[in-house]
């Protein structure tokens, strides 16, 4: 299935969870936060939050700014 990760469409297995997506991308898990279709997914729910086909996943971290 295709989902939109940080604005880019990518292919993931059906029933992939947020944790699966982060692992596949090799994203550092400390200091990041995830929003699924505009709603925050708490860290403790990453392993059971299933990403639906066509969903929008945003992965954010802190950078220099302000």
């Amino acid at each position: 299935m295709e989902i939109q990760v940080n604005g880019q469409w990518r292919e993931f297995p059906d029933e992939a969870t947020v944790a699966d997506v982060l692992e596949a991308l090799g994203t550092a898990t400390q200091g990041v936060a995830v929003a699924l279709d505009g709603e925050v997914v708490r860290r403790g729910r990453w392993t059971d939050a299933v990403v639906a086909k066509g969903a929008r996943l945003d992965i954010l971290t802190a950078v220099q700014g302000g």
């Binding site: 994203t27 925050v40 992965i59 971290t61 950078v63 220099q64 700014g65 302000g66």
Partner: protein
């Protein structure tokens, strides 16, 4: 000035200089400037995790023992700012948020309506909100009523280095505020930071003035001294201004 603490919500700070990390040439330059500034609270922005230069700044701030102040820079609406704040809280495990909602790219001025809307939602959600606002005494009061822990009026637009364009408005804000007032944006050099403190501000936030100075470390030292000097002068009670001279030596 032992025991002269800056209290923002539950957070207590000795330093009255908040530094923004944007604009530094590299992390080594940033580190020297942060150490020289004596800051205990420093801003970071939230961006997509695949963008360049991500995690280094977090490791640096952790190593220096500096508290994080995530901001919502880049947000145009209250809804965007609320989501960004929630993501920052989740990623960085802090309730502190510097709320900024910019109206447009040329001025980067805060949008008052979206800012107030977001402030109400974020305080209801348990955040300690530091709200970036125009130098508007009425809006500052409204933000305080919305439950903000601090208001951050601008001296001039972000990155301009134009100093404090309306000192009287800053004094008006200070005179009625029951929460800390942090002068944010527009600082160009040390005298601007001193003036902010002499006007009664509780702290100063600046980034560009240090990070884009020719010698960021030296400018950070200057800002530290400037904030301390302004705080001391404010507390010392300046003399009234006079039209005519008054001899300081005894008449013979």
């Amino acid at each position: 000035m032992d025991g002269d603490l800056l209290v923002i919500g539950e957070h207590k700070l000795t330093s009255r200089l908040v530094i923004g990390t944007g604009g530094a040439a590299n992390l080594a330059v940033l580190e020297r400037a942060l150490v020289a500034s004596g800051t205990e609270l420093t801003t970071v922005a939230m961006r997509r995790a695949d963008s360049e230069g991500g995690s280094g700044v977090l490791e640096l701030l952790k190593r220096l023992g500096i508290r994080l102040l995530p901001n919502t820079a880049g947000c145009r609406t209250a809804a965007e700012a609320v989501l960004t704040a929630q993501l920052a809280r989740e990623a960085l495990e802090t309730d502190l948020i510097k709320l900024e909602v910019h109206a447009d790219d040329r001025t980067l001025l805060p949008d008052p309506f979206e800012t107030l809307d977001a402030a109400e939602r974020l305080t209801a959600d348990g955040f300690t909100v530091l709200a970036y606002t125009n130098d508007d005494p009425v809006l500052a009061l409204r933000l305080e009523e919305a439950g903000c822990a601090a208001v951050m009026p601008l001296g001039a637009p972000i990155g301009t280095g134009l100093g404090i364009r309306n000192p009287h408005n800053i004094e008006l804000i200070v005179s009625r505020a029951g929460i800390p007032v942090i002068l944010d944006a527009g600082i160009g050099t040390a005298s601007d930071a001193t003036l902010a403190m002499e006007l009664g501000c509780d702290a100063v936030l600046l980034a560009t003035a240090v990070t884009r100075a020719s010698d960021p470390e030296r400018m950070a030292s200057a800002m530290r001294a400037a904030v301390t000097a302004g705080r001391l002068a404010r507390g010392a009670g300046r003399i009234p201004q006079r039209f005519w001279a008054q001899a300081s030596s005894p008449p013979r």
